[in-house]
């Protein structure tokens, strides 16, 4: 009786969690754990780590626990919506806890079960991956977490941020939401991801954006305007640092960083200039971190 057989199979595999539920479940889980649930930062960033709730808050002695989803923009990764795995805009779910709890690994594994990954049934691996961000002057030790060969999360103990040694040490978890859902929903193309139970797919939400932004990033972004804007952001940041305003100053640092990424995608940054730009942004990040830290004492 073939019908029965297929029914049985369905029972063994629970229906996959859709994209928006994945975010909601993680928020709920970490909210219950005690994290402050924040909303995405309202400035373009390259990764969830850049949110001041992670960069600045990981500095200083005060305990801190937060979780949030963060849209991340990587202009050079744009593929006009043609590549099944690459996007210039995607989501990360970010958890930051200071100081790092002793049982964090266990809690993390538990969080996976709320988004459809039972760690007993899958090959979960902690593969060495020490993280470094030259633009933030940051470094950490940790792993990429693999689930059946797929990298689903970045697990990092910050050692340094904005050029400053962290004390105490924070732990950062960065869930790659699209990848996780491609895994749980068994999709080979990111645009096929099920967004909600109303039949909306990732494609419906972002396909047009990927096409248009790829064109903007690679072809039409006005580089002259961007170069000037970089300078403005840099100047503004420095003047705000003099006034000891760490948060607004850091915003300018983020802006400079995103402009740099756009210029990079437009291919107008040579090698020598590249390192120069990165070191400029790092100086802004370091300045902001230093002023922030002073405010924490």
């Amino acid at each position: 009786m073939p019908k029965k057989k297929s029914l049985k199979k369905k029972k063994g595999k629970p229906t996959a969690v859709n994209f928006q539920e994945t975010i909601l479940n993680l928020q709920k889980f970490w909210g219950n754990y005690g994290c402050v649930i924040l909303q995405p930062y309202d400035i373009e960033v390259g990764a969830g780590t850049f949110h001041p709730a992670t960069t600045l808050r990981s500095l200083g002695p005060k305990p801190w626990m937060a979780a949030y989803v963060q849209p991340s923009r990587r202009p050079t990764d744009g593929r006009y919506g043609k590549n099944p795995n690459r996007l210039q805009h995607y989501y990360q779910f970010q958890v930051i806890i200071k100081p790092s709890p002793d049982n964090i690994k266990k809690v993390f594994l538990k969080s996976l079960s709320t988004i459809g990954i039972n760690h007993q049934e899958h090959d979960i691996r902690f593969v060495e991956d020490d993280w470094e961000s030259p633009t933030l002057g940051a470094a950490g030790r940790g792993w990429e977490v693999w689930c059946d060969g797929m990298e689903i999360t970045q697990f990092t103990y910050f050692q340094q941020m904005a050029g400053i040694e962290c004390k105490p040490i924070s732990v950062e978890l960065t869930y790659g939401l699209e990848r996780i859902c491609m895994f749980t929903q068994e999709k080979n193309n990111v645009f096929d991801l099920i967004w909600n139970n109303g039949g909306i797919k990732y494609k419906d939400v972002f396909y047009q954006a990927e096409k248009e932004y790829s064109a903007y990033n690679f072809e039409f972004a006005n580089t002259e305007y961007l170069l000037k804007n970089f300078e403005f952001a840099e100047l503004e940041c420095k003047s705000l640092l003099e006034k000891k305003l760490s948060l607004p100053a850091y915003d300018q640092c983020l802006k400079a960083s995103h402009i740099f990424n756009l210029l990079d995608a437009r291919g107008v940054i040579g090698v020598a200039q590249r390192t120069e730009y990165i070191s400029k942004i790092r100086e802004l990040a370091k300045g902001s971190g230093k002023i922030w830290l002073e405010s924490q004492k």
Binding site: D102, D123, R125, D148, Q159, N188, G270
Partner: protein, 688 residues
């Protein structure tokens, strides 16, 4: 006899760190035991991602200290000194006795040997040992002060069934281990290693790395056998994978065979480096669409297999996308983009480098006797693949991808091979280029790199070589030796400097040529050492006048090394030493003007003339055979002077009353030595 057991439980430690820690921490503990004269029978150490385990067996429970005699104050010293001596050493008055030694009479006392409780000693030794280990990479976490490879959770330390209690930073030792079970975690008291090992086995955890390795290899071999595939696996990857799992299981997976159409290097790198899979080959060495995955659990529901297959498919479809795109991007057209890639800050871009390399074609093609145009084209486009997405994604495929692109774009086979080969050799065991155009481009690239970095004084130090100049130099020398190339490197180095000058690159080093040659010679000595050439023979190459023709020096060293204890070499060395000893004694204090050639009119005896003729014969031989020298013949030639030399020394007294005659004889001997030193500096060769 008792057993010491230590378990360090932590979060996942990377493979390399595990191996280092499990070996070194064990050694440190052993040394600390030996220092305290505590003997043991055996020691072992094991590692899993989350566990480091050390076992030292056959330790005594208690040991008696050796009898010790201590020296007190002189007997003339005030009473207070003696009292102090007695008090501080906890002695009784009756234990003290007087004894005369060289410096006078002193008080002495014998300290009663103490009984040492090993358990108490271990309470000090273990934390001390842990603290003195320094990780190659370490970290901090939470609020703790401890710096460790990865967050350390607990320390179980048991000796003779009892806890060795100590504090190590924030952690207090105990005798409890924790295993994350399927349903819930298990905590258990550890009595000894046997019961601990048993406990892990019950959870299917294999503690012993060797055992894990055997299980994995056996499973992989079985699969290959049933599928009729080749069973050779990348050793390094096996070593790594063994330390990434605690419950090893091997799963066969496959990917869509349409991907077999893209260059197999891409597939192999993706599988091995990125996913730690083992690609499988059929018996004819062809890559198949099957691969092996070493998982950390039994794949009950088949999720692990399907999951990994999906991951590889996604990665390969990405790679295929890039391959289809990149293979049509003209390598010549891409040269312009190299202007955006830096070679090194003060040495210009990679575009500049290819332009210099191109100009090298003419002197090199002359020396190698090969097609100049091919070298020019290959040099110009050999770095173009660096602009491709594929090399961006897989940097280790530089050169290899260029070769494929060149083939796709219809370049001559010599040119595409040269692009693929020009980074070779990449390591000690890596092959060197063998085809003429490949050899040319590879050598040009390396000379340009060496000269550039030395020119701006970015030279390697004893501990740092960030631009891998040592490897570059060794590669260059290996290409010369292994391809039998008679190359004058000095000219090429000078030419390279000119090419940099033409591009207005400022060299701060004014003796670049000399330093690069010296650097090459030092590396060359290392190569000779590895080839097991005797040390004195290696030293003897220093003053040879072979002008850095490394092939010729290499051949000379080899032939001398081979014949050093045979008659032929013995004869050469005996006559050379005989001559050089006399010369040394005669001219060491006096200042003689040693002329180039002896004056034949001053020869008084036949033996002088005969020796002189012999030397001339050898000299003529050298100048006649400058291009192709047969070193066997040379040795015969040098040894053949023995009768003439022996006769000279047996029958001619150098120390003649007539100073002119004496001088002339010394000049003759000097000429003899110089001639022999043409081959190698025989004065450095130790006697036989």
């Amino acid at each position: 006899m008792a057993e010491l057991f230590i378990e360090l439980l932590s979060e996942e430690i990377p493979s390399k760190l595990q191996i280092d820690a499990r070996e070194k921490i064990k050694n440190i503990i052993e040394e600390n035991l030996k220092k305290r004269e505590i003997n043991f029978l055996s020691s072992k150490s094991f590692s899993l991602p989350k566990r480091l385990v050390f076992i030292i067996d056959g330790l005594p429970k208690k040991i008696k200290e050796k009898k010790k005699i201590i020296k007190g104050p002189k007997i003339e010293a005030p009473q207070a000194a003696l009292d102090g001596f007695i008090k501080s050493n906890k002695l009784n008055q009756k234990d003290v006795y007087k004894k005369k030694i060289e410096k006078g009479i002193f008080y002495f006392a014998e300290i009663k040997p103490k009984i040492i409780d090993i358990l108490e000693e271990l309470q000090i030794i273990i934390p001390e040992s842990l603290q003195s280990y320094s990780w190659k990479k370490s970290m901090k976490w939470s609020t703790y002060e401890l710096n460790w490879g990865r967050p350390l959770k607990s320390i179980a330390a048991v000796f003779n069934h009892k806890v060795i209690s100590f504090k190590f930073f924030h952690i207090t030792s105990n005798n409890i281990t924790l295993i994350e079970g399927e349903k819930k975690d298990i905590t258990k008291k550890i009595k000894n290693f046997a019961s601990y090992d048993q406990l892990l086995k019950q959870q299917n955890i294999i503690l012993d790395q060797e055992e894990r390795k055997n299980i994995i290899i056996k499973k992989m071999n079985n699969i290959c056998m049933t599928k009729n595939l080749k069973n050779s696996f990348n050793e390094k990857l096996v070593e790594e994978v063994v330390n990434l799992v605690e419950k090893p299981n091997v799963i066969v997976c496959k990917f869509n065979d349409i991907y077999l159409k893209i260059p197999q290097e891409i597939l192999i790198v993706t599988m091995q480096h990125h996913q730690k899979y083992f690609p499988l080959f059929d018996k004819k060495e062809n890559l198949t669409n099957l691969f092996l995955l070493v998982s950390n659990l039994h794949d009950k529901k088949g999720y692990v297999k399907t999951g990994n297959q999906r991951v590889i498919e996604a990665r390969l479809s990405d790679a295929k996308f890039f391959w289809d795109k990149n293979k049509t991007q003209g390598l010549v057209k891409e040269i312009g983009k190299l202007k955006n890639l830096s070679f090194f800050n003060r040495l210009g871009t990679l575009y500049d480098k290819t332009q210099r390399m191109k100009k090298f074609a003419s002197p090199v093609s002359d020396q190698l006797n090969c097609n100049k145009e091919k070298i020019e084209i290959a040099s110009s486009i050999c770095k173009s693949d660096l602009t491709s997405d594929l090399v961006g994604e897989f940097p280790e495929l530089q050169g290899v991808m260029g070769k494929y692109f060149a083939n796709e774009q219809g370049f001559d086979l010599d040119i595409s091979s040269a692009i693929g080969d020009h980074y070779l050799p990449t390591g000690i065991n890596s092959e060197v280029p063998k085809k003429p155009v490949s050899i040319a481009v590879s050598m040009i690239d390396k000379i340009d790199t060496l000269v550039g970095f030395f020119g701006i004084n970015e030279k390697p130090t004893s501990s740092k070589d960030p631009f891998a100049l040592r490897r570059t130099a060794i590669g260059l020398l290996r290409i010369i030796i292994e391809n039998n190339l008679n190359f004058q490197l000095k000219d090429l180095i000078n030419y390279s400097i000119i090419l940099y000058e033409e591009q207005n690159v400022r060299f701060t080093n004014t003796s670049t040529t000399k330093e690069v040659l010296f650097f090459l010679k030092e590396r060359f000595k290392n190569i000779l050492k590895e080839k097991k050439i005797r040390g004195d023979i290696i030293d003897a190459i220093d003053d040879t006048r072979t002008n850095y023709n490394f092939l010729s020096i290499y051949k000379k060293c080899k032939i001398i090394n081979k014949n050093i204890s045979r008659e032929i070499c013995k004869n050469i060395i005996i006559i050379y030493k005989r001559a050089s000893n006399i010369l040394y004694h005669e001219i060491k204090d006096k200042k003689f003007e040693i002329m180039e050639q002896p004056e034949t009119l001053l020869f008084k005896k036949d033996e002088e003339r005969i020796l002189f003729d012999k030397i001339k014969e050898i000299r003529n031989y050298f100048s006649a055979n400058i291009k192709v020298e047969n070193y066997e013949d040379t040795l015969k030639m040098l040894a053949g002077a023995k009768p003439a030399t022996d006769n000279f020394f047996d029958n001619v007294i150098v120390n003649d009353e007539n100073l002119d005659i004496k001088k002339n004889r010394l000049v003759l001997i000097k000429m003899f030595c110089n001639t022999y030193n043409n081959f190698i500096n025989f004065s450095k060769i130790e006697g036989v």
